[in-house]
């Protein structure tokens, strides 16, 4: 039986006091301690941004790659070494901006990974520019007159692209978030958990107070059916006075691993490669 302490990392945390990432890290640790998998069998993959530092603060395998490029290495690692539980910790800029193309196509690919997007609706690491999810009218040092391009709606996009697990969490509700991440990991295939998260240093609009007034737990409503796609799309688009959190959409679908026949074989990483008999195809070239 593992505990949260088993996932403590010696690395010193470099986030601002009050950062929403603390809540997300704690929720993730809680989830991992309940998974009953040792740190060696978990791989956290990240890109660049404040959220991308997260893997260093949890004792697990970590691949911290390039800005926007968390998903490709995560998917490939899962494909070749399926014993790894692969979780991506990324941000709104990393995943929806710089890495938008990988977001689209890895939902289509549907490898069994879980993507936790620390969505603070702002660029923290570069000190306060708008991100793809910053609301219209939000003023920044760059968007002096306020943001004029429409915000990206990750949940709706994911549902339309066919993601099988689409959820939204809130960094200040660690227990609820931990449940969402667990459900995401248990889902076979691509799981998206967009996590609303205040940035006390650079986002003075979407504060703890701002979120607390608006969010509500969609799954508390017994009438809400996350298996109903049209209902889910409506919820995914709800933003403003009321913001739903919880499991927005669920669907079962074949994973990349199933469709590619990988599951029927031993893991690629276990394949002996010392003396592959290439001579058996020479006949095709004679």
């Amino acid at each position: 039986m593992l505990t949260v302490q088993d996932f403590n990392s010696p690395d010193k945390i470099a986030w601002c006091p009050g950062c929403g990432n603390f809540g997300i890290t704690n929720a993730l640790k809680k989830t991992l301690s309940r998974l009953d998998r040792p740190p060696k069998d978990i791989l956290l993959v990240s890109g660049i941004g404040q959220a991308a530092k997260l893997p260093h603060y949890i004792k697990c395998n970590c691949f911290n790659g390039l800005h926007g490029r968390a998903l490709p290495p995560a998917v490939a690692a899962k494909i070749v070494n399926p014993n790894l539980t692969v979780i991506v910790t990324t941000g709104d800029g990393d995943c929806y901006g710089e890495g938008g193309n990988h977001f689209i196509h890895n939902i289509r690919r549907n490898a069994d990974i879980t993507v936790v997007v620390c969505d603070n609706q702002i660029y923290g690491l570069t000190k306060g520019q708008a991100s793809p999810t910053t609301d219209l009218g939000h003023k920044t040092k760059v968007q002096e007159e306020g943001v004029i391009i429409k915000p990206f709606r990750p949940l709706a996009v994911a549902i339309v692209l066919g993601a099988g697990f689409v959820a939204r969490g809130y960094s200040a509700d660690s227990e609820h978030l931990s449940w969402l991440i667990s459900e995401g990991i248990n889902h076979r295939g691509f799981s998206l958990i967009d996590v609303l998260q205040p940035c006390p240093s650079f986002n003075k609009v979407n504060t703890y107070e701002w979120y607390s007034k608006r969010i509500y737990k969609v799954n508390d409503d017994k009438a809400y059916n996350p298996l109903d796609k049209s209902m889910a799309l409506q919820k995914a688009d709800e933003w403003g006075e009321r913001i739903p959190i919880g499991i927005i959409f669920r669907a079962e679908g074949e994973t990349f691993e199933e469709k590619s026949g990988l599951l029927a074989k031993s893991p690629l990483v276990e394949d002996g490669i010392e003396d592959i008999d290439i001579t058996r195809v020479f006949g095709d070239f004679s």
Binding site: P73, I79, H102, V281
Partner: protein
């Protein structure tokens, strides 16, 4: 005295030049002859002008000729475009009625190819098989070999299709036999060697990757690299390889890095434009010390350039690509054999030094076919440089980036060892955690650059030299020009050549030794600025006397280069 002839089959894209070209390769090889075939095609699916050029000889051949002995024109445009490239006594096989040509010329050999196709098979699509029969008869090949080749080429098609193709080929063959316009002239045939391969550079790279144990391949299709992916995809199931077409080249390189980090050998291939997108990933591979193999099948640039043509313009780009300073290897195979063996070596070296290894080819090598001896798998050994699974359980206090004298840290595979592994694109400590410590930074730079380069310096892929020390004039080239240099220097007295198949780290000592007594050094390069000449000067202090440069998107040919060298003498 070497006996040889060159056949050029030309027509619009979609007329099946490649199919008939492959059939002819099989036919002449069945005669025990050697072949070198290259393709020239336009960036379009239908129309335009494409050709397949086949050089046939009784001794091994390595490059293409300037002129053809027989041109088969499948459309009128081909007559106009290629008639200037005909040897004395050369012939143009054409269908005058179909092309609306009324005049008579000495070189014309009029064959009603289209009428034959219509009469025998009721479709003009069979015209390429008619041409195949015509060529076989003109070069004195027995028809039974033509029938066998057609059966082999169309083995996936219905029996009826095969029968029709053989019938039209027979009709073309018989037409030549009856025609008073042409006397078949054949070159001496030999017995076909027992074991041989016929393949192109891209196929050799794909087979090398399979042999090397590549388990994950991801790429975005880009000419002229795409047939590497096609070949690997064809064999993926049989060899348990995942071939994943990426959404873009950025995804491709990052997937390859992720797969490699997780424990398997992985590769991608592209051309210059796609490689440009991969450059940040190249730097990531270096920083995270993740082995990767990247193929750049060059084509003329900048930007989209000539998508289907050839150039060696990325040399400077490849040895410098990536932000920051780190060790890398750049190979440039000169032959189809070298493409295979160097690909296996690339995987071994990438894993041994935990670096990116680049394989630089070009459209000419990628798409050219030659008959070669079977690959010796004994010379293509896989040597692994990871902590094996059975030893992983006992590892304690593992540091992914532990400082060592060689700069290479023992590499553990995630989930095999009992501790987590941290890899980072930020500057990091030995444990892999982010740091801004100046002293650690200095050690890490030395590790990734100086220490690894020092090891790589002892494992240089030796250049190939001919007549070095004896020749007055040394030609110097890299990559796909090997065969050209070899044949041209054999033709001109007092010339020799130096061919580099490793460009980085630059083989300084070997180059100095092999060039020091040459009276005159001429680089031969498929680019406009003499990039190799500049590199030699920078790395050795030797200033080549001249450069013969070709940057029209077409490969060199033996005859033109020979004339150009004579001018230089």
């Amino acid at each position: 005295m070497q006996q040889e002839f060159t056949i050029k089959i030309s027509g619009e894209a979609g007329q099946g030049m490649q199919t008939i070209g492959q059939a002819l390769c099989a036919i002449y090889r069945a005669c025990g002859l050697n072949i070198f075939a290259n393709q020239d095609y336009m960036s379009r699916i239908r129309g335009g002008n494409n050709f397949f050029q086949l050089r046939v000889a009784d001794t091994p051949v390595y490059a293409s000729r300037h002129n053809a002995d027989i041109l088969v024109a499948l459309d009128k445009a081909s007559v106009d475009i290629h008639k200037a490239y005909l040897n004395t006594n050369g012939r143009i096989v054409l269908d005058k009625k179909k092309f609306g040509i009324t005049g008579e010329q000495k070189v014309f050999f009029d064959v009603p190819m289209y009428a034959i196709a219509m009469e025998k098979a009721a479709s003009e699509i069979f015209v390429n098989s008619v041409a195949c029969g015509v060529l076989a008869a003109m070069t004195g090949v027995e028809f039974v070999l033509v029938a066998e080749a057609i059966k082999a080429i169309f083995r996936d098609k219905s029996e009826e299709i095969i029968k029709k193709n053989i019938e039209v080929a027979q009709a073309g063959y018989d037409f030549v036999a009856k025609s008073p316009r042409f006397e078949p002239s054949a070159i001496k045939k030999k017995d076909k060697p027992a074991a041989e391969l016929l393949l192109n550079g891209n196929e050799a790279i794909a087979l090398g990757a399979i042999r090397a144990g590549c388990k994950f391949y991801s790429a975005y299709p880009m000419t002229p690299s795409t047939s590497i992916m096609d070949t690997l995809a064809h064999y993926a199931r049989g060899f348990n390889i995942i071939v994943e077409q990426a959404e873009d080249e950025i995804a491709a390189i990052n997937m390859v890095i992720g797969a490699s980090f997780a424990g398997v050998r992985a590769m991608t291939a592209t051309s210059g434009g796609g490689f440009s997108l991969m450059v940040e990933g190249l730097s990531l591979a270096a920083m995270t010390e993740t082995p990767v193999v990247i193929v750049d099948a060059q084509r003329p640039a900048p930007a989209t350039g000539f998508p289907t043509r050839t150039e060696q313009g990325d040399l400077g780009f490849l040895i410098h690509a990536g932000h920051g300073e780190f060790a890398r290897l750049v190979y440039a195979p000169g032959t189809i054999e070298e493409a295979f063996y160097l690909t296996v070596k690339a995987f071994n070296m990438a894993e041994k030094y935990q670096i990116p290894v680049l394989i630089m080819t070009d459209q000419y090598l990628a798409d050219s076919y030659r008959n070669i001896g079977v690959f010796d798998t004994g010379k293509a050994r896989v040597i692994r440089y990871i902590i094996p699974k059975q030893d992983s359980g006992k590892i304690q206090n593992y540091k992914r980036y532990a400082f060592t004298e060689s700069g290479v840290s023992p590499r553990a595979i995630p989930s095999w060892i009992n501790e987590p592994i941290y890899a980072d694109s930020d500057e990091h400590t030995e444990e892999g955690h982010i740091t801004e410590d100046a002293a650690v930074r200095i050690e890490m730079v030395k590790k990734r650059l100086h220490r690894k380069l020092s090891g790589l310096g002892k494992e240089t892929e030796k250049p190939t030299a001919f007549n070095a020390g004896k020749a007055d004039v040394m030609l110097v080239g890299f990559g796909s020009t090997f065969g050209l240099l070899r044949e041209v220097t054999a033709m001109i007295k007092k010339t020799g050549f130096l061919h580099l198949s490793q460009l980085w780290p630059f083989p300084e000592k070997e180059t100095l030794r092999l060039l020091k007594t040459a009276k005159r050094i001429i680089t031969v390069e498929n680019n406009a600025s003499g990039q190799l000449a500049g590199l030699i000067r920078r790395q050795t202090g030797i200033k080549p006397d001249a450069s013969i440069l070709k940057f029209d998107g077409r490969p060199f040919d033996i005859d033109t280069l020979r004339e150009e060298i004579k001018e230089e003498l």
